[in-house]
Amino acid sequence: MALLTSIWRSAILRVARWLFALALLHAAAAQAAAPPPEYQLKAIFLFNFAQFVEWPPRATGGEQEPFVIGVLGDDPFGPYLDETVKGEKIGNHPMVVRRYRRAEEVGDCNVLFISRSESDRMGQIIAAFRGRSVLTVGDVDDFNRVGGIVRFVTEQGKIRLRIDVKAAQAAGLTISSKLLRSATLVTAEDK
């Protein structure tokens, strides 16, 4: 009897230990899955850009063609961005998220977030999209200077937008005044 009790006890202890370890793992995983608040908010902004920017008809393709939000380089958003656009449509175009390792992989894409991991070749990447109706978005310091259209800036803990309207026009994009009103307008020459 005493033996049984002791086996029983050790089993419970073992299970408890496992559960504890699992819980820790789960917590760690959950932590990893949720991007920092800054990127959660940036994901929401990417979704919003789709509402406030007009693409030329050819860029959005035929009916049922997806509206693509692309992430180039290391993905800071994780599943959060997918959750954000899940079930959303722009007109008849369902929104989807696509991730790319290299600029050459980017096919039809409407909004392209270029990650910090691409800092070193940001200028080349943006140049590669010249003439295509892609809203380039980034958060590295010189993003506008190298020709990017929308740059996220974090000031006093809040997300601000720096938008290069000329670059947008060159890409055939029309940005709503509603979005522009809330943004700082820049040109490639301004820093």
């Binding site: 608040p37 902004f45 979704f47 954000t84 006093q156 803990g157 809040k158 709503s176 509603k178 522009l180």
Partner: protein
């Protein structure tokens, strides 16, 4: 309207049920600068229980954002107001969650026809805003409105503009570039515990944008029938990394008000103003602001000489945030005003003010703030035979201390704020202004709040020192025995988010006043002479309802309905018959409806409709008026708008009895703005 309730064309924190503990905001009081610019939504989101603060080890906090489904409902501006860091400067004031606050945002102002601060205040449905003539306004919350509404405290970037001479605000010299206003918080109900004396019926807290937010150039020019011409120029740049500045200048000419018979009242006026603001966040955890304004203007009068007013101010503020989530703010300012009213008096007032505040969260339960302040007001009057302030020169010193604790009784559910202000006045002695506010959030989409507070209005020189005429025998004599007016206020409020598109806020109150300023006949039953005393009691009650309905991404409606009953009576022993009839000049009803419509990406069409009930004891009839604005932004750098104010009548009355009344004419003007 940009009610507090609603954020820009969005939703606002305040209608949205709040979880006050969680709202990242900055300390309100005496430092409404950017770090402290607690814009509506940080709140909103924050507060709607959307945002929760997740406690981490070592007392550090991290902001947890709401799920994407909630964030997607917010406008771009609202998103920009969410703080993604845990800087305590942005933490919400629990005390405000349990108060009737409406916020007029920069976007509310941009989509209105407002060309001045008083016009912008019409957007808050919890205020009574009555235009008296071409340049004077009566503005108050919760009754006892008048040219000098002495129970409203008004601050611009932390600087009090309440004049201790008249106990009120000279609205004609409170100005800035409208585009540079970041937000106007309108708190109806007492705010004395935090803000100090004279915040009896409410507080209007105007904050301008930081220099970081006003980079680049702006030129605005306009003109039309009442606003005859108006020019504004602003330029912002960088002095060094993290050090930004802006400079501005503006000038306007405004036309006459209208006599009841329809002819011009001859009170056209003009004003020029210039100023600057410098902000630095170059050092980690530190924010520095230096700003100043200078103005000069004159008013035409039917008389020999124009009224002349001029002034200036200089303010410095230092905010420091520490790793343990505490922060402190030190602010100092100097303000100088000069006003010459020929045949009446000339006033020169110099104010020196210092404020310090320290906020220290202790554990998860207590968020403790203490502060102290000192103010010296040196007022020098040049009297005329018609009336005199005696003595002509007076210096008042005020010292105050303040403690407040925001207590989280049940996480995310029940919060209590206890605090008091203690002030020492050289004119009148000591004042004690405690309050207790509680907010209960039974579920994420609704909040019930209640508050009991005491507030005082300290006597001003118009109560103590004004004699008419300047030499005996006086028809009206000053009241050296006047004591502070006291209020005990009981408030109860409710906020509810009915759906993702509709939010409601209701605030109700019962106010019990004593020692209100009266005029006691010296030889009753003769009505005159009189002496100022503290012989009246007052009671008021009312309800302020506001709603925000987001019909679609391009169309929003805001509505406001305010009911109010205000009355006064002589205290036992008083034979006052004059003041008792005229201290409460308030309409019983006010209704507002605002429509914000984006016709396309380039075109906006906005309409403000307001009904103000009759003011019975001034025989001002009730009126309905409408403002409209059509704006076109063909390219981002340019905006053109056509604006109409008070469109429904050629002219209408808003204040004052028929004999001294000036009426307000229809105003139509065009405006062009260029940003570079």
């Amino acid at each position: 309207m940009g009610f507090a309730l609603f954020g820009e064309r969005g939703w606002d924190a305040n209608t949205a049920p709040m979880n006050p503990a969680a709202c990242p905001r900055a300390p309100t009081n005496p430092n409404p600068r950017r770090p402290g610019r607690r814009r509506r939504i940080a709140l909103i989101a924050a507060c709607s229980g959307l945002l929760g603060l997740v406690p981490r080890a070592a007392g550090q906090t991290v902001v947890a954002l709401p799920p994407p489904s909630d964030l997607k409902k917010l406008s771009v501006d609202e998103l920009m107001d969410i703080n993604v860091t845990s800087v305590s400067l942005h933490s919400e004031k629990l005390s405000e969650a349990a108060s009737a606050i409406q916020v007029i945002t920069a976007d509310d102002i941009a989509s209105s026809t407002a060309t001045s601060i008083p016009e912008a205040l019409r957007l808050a449905s919890n205020l009574e805003v009555a235009q008296i003539d071409s340049r004077q306004w009566a503005i108050s919350a919760r009754g006892f409105n008048n040219l000098f509404a002495d129970k409203m405290l008004v601050l611009i970037d932390g600087r009090s503009v309440y004049t201790p001479l008249y106990a009120g605000v000279y609205w004609d010299v409170q100005d800035t570039i409208m585009e540079d206003i970041d937000r106007i918080e309108v708190i109806s109900g007492p705010g004395a515990t935090q803000w100090g004396a004279n915040a009896v019926n409410g507080v209007i807290n105007i904050s301008t944008k930081t220099a970081m937010e006003t980079q680049g150039g702006l030129v605005v020019a306009g003109g039309g029938s009442e606003l005859e011409d108006s020019e504004e120029v602003r330029y912002g740049g960088k002095l060094a990394p993290g050090v930004d500045y802006r400079v501005y200048a503006k000038y306007f000419d405004r036309g006459d008000s209208v006599l009841p018979n329809g002819s011009a009242a001859g009170d056209a006026w003009r004003m020029g103003q210039t100023g600057f603001r410098l902000d630095s966040d170059a050092a980690e955890g530190t924010w520095l602001t230096l700003q100043g304004d200078f103005y000069d203007g004159s008013v035409t009068r039917q008389g020999p000489e124009d009224i002349h007013m001029s002034g200036g101010n200089l303010l410095g503020r230092w905010t420091r945030t520490f790793d343990d989530n505490s922060d402190m703010v030190a602010q100092v300012y100097y303000d100088e005003t000069y006003r010459k009213i020929p045949n009446s008096f000339t006033q020169s007032l110099n104010t020196y003010d210092f404020d310090f505040k320290y906020r220290l969260p202790i554990g998860k339960v207590n968020d403790f703030t203490w502060g102290l302040g000192y103010r010296l007001e040196d007022d020098d009057i040049t009297n005329t035979p018609a009336e005199a302030f005696l003595p002509s020169q007076a210096t008042e010193q005020t010292f105050n201390t303040f403690v407040q604790d925001e207590i989280t009784l049940v996480d995310d559910r029940l919060h209590l704020t206890l605090g008091t202000k203690f002030e020492e006045y050289s004119f009148t002695g000591d004042e004690f202004e405690p309050s207790a506010r509680a907010a209960w959030t039974p579920s994420g989409d609704q909040t019930v709040w209640a508050a009991v507070s005491r507030a005082v209005r300290v006597p001003s020189r118009i109560d103590l020192d004004l004699y008419e005429p300047a030499t005996p025998p006086y028809r009206q004599a000053g009241g050296p025995g006047v004591v502070s007016e006291k209020l005990i206020a009981y408030e109860l409020g409710y906020r509810k988010q009915l759906s993702s598109a509709v939010a409601l806020s209701l605030a109700t109150y019962y106010n019990d006043y004593s020692d209100l300023r009266g005029l006691e006949p010296l030889n009753p039953p003769a009505a005159f002479p009189v002496q100022v005393d503290s012989g009246l009691r007052g009671k008021s009650s009312g309800a302020e309802l506001a709603a925000d309905w987001r019909i679609s991404r391009v169309w929003r409606l805001h509505g406001g309905w305010t009911e109010m009953r205000v009355g006064s009576s002589p205290e036992p022993g008083s034979t006052d018959r004059v003041a008792n009839r005229s201290i409460a000049l308030d309409p019983n009803h006010q209704v507002q409806l605002r429509s914000l419509l984006d016709l396309s990406a380039q075109w906006q069409f906005d309409t403000d409709l307001r009904y103000v009930g009759p003011i019975a004891n001034q025989r001002v009839p009730g009126y309905t008026e409408m403002d409209q604005r059509l704006a076109w932004r063909p390219v981002p750098a340019w905006e053109f708008s056509l604006n109409g104010q008070n469109l429904l009548h050629d002219y209408h009355a808003e204040f004052n009895p028929p004999g001294s009344r000036r009426e307000i004419g229809r105003s139509i003007f065009g405006k062009a703005a260029w940003r570079f």
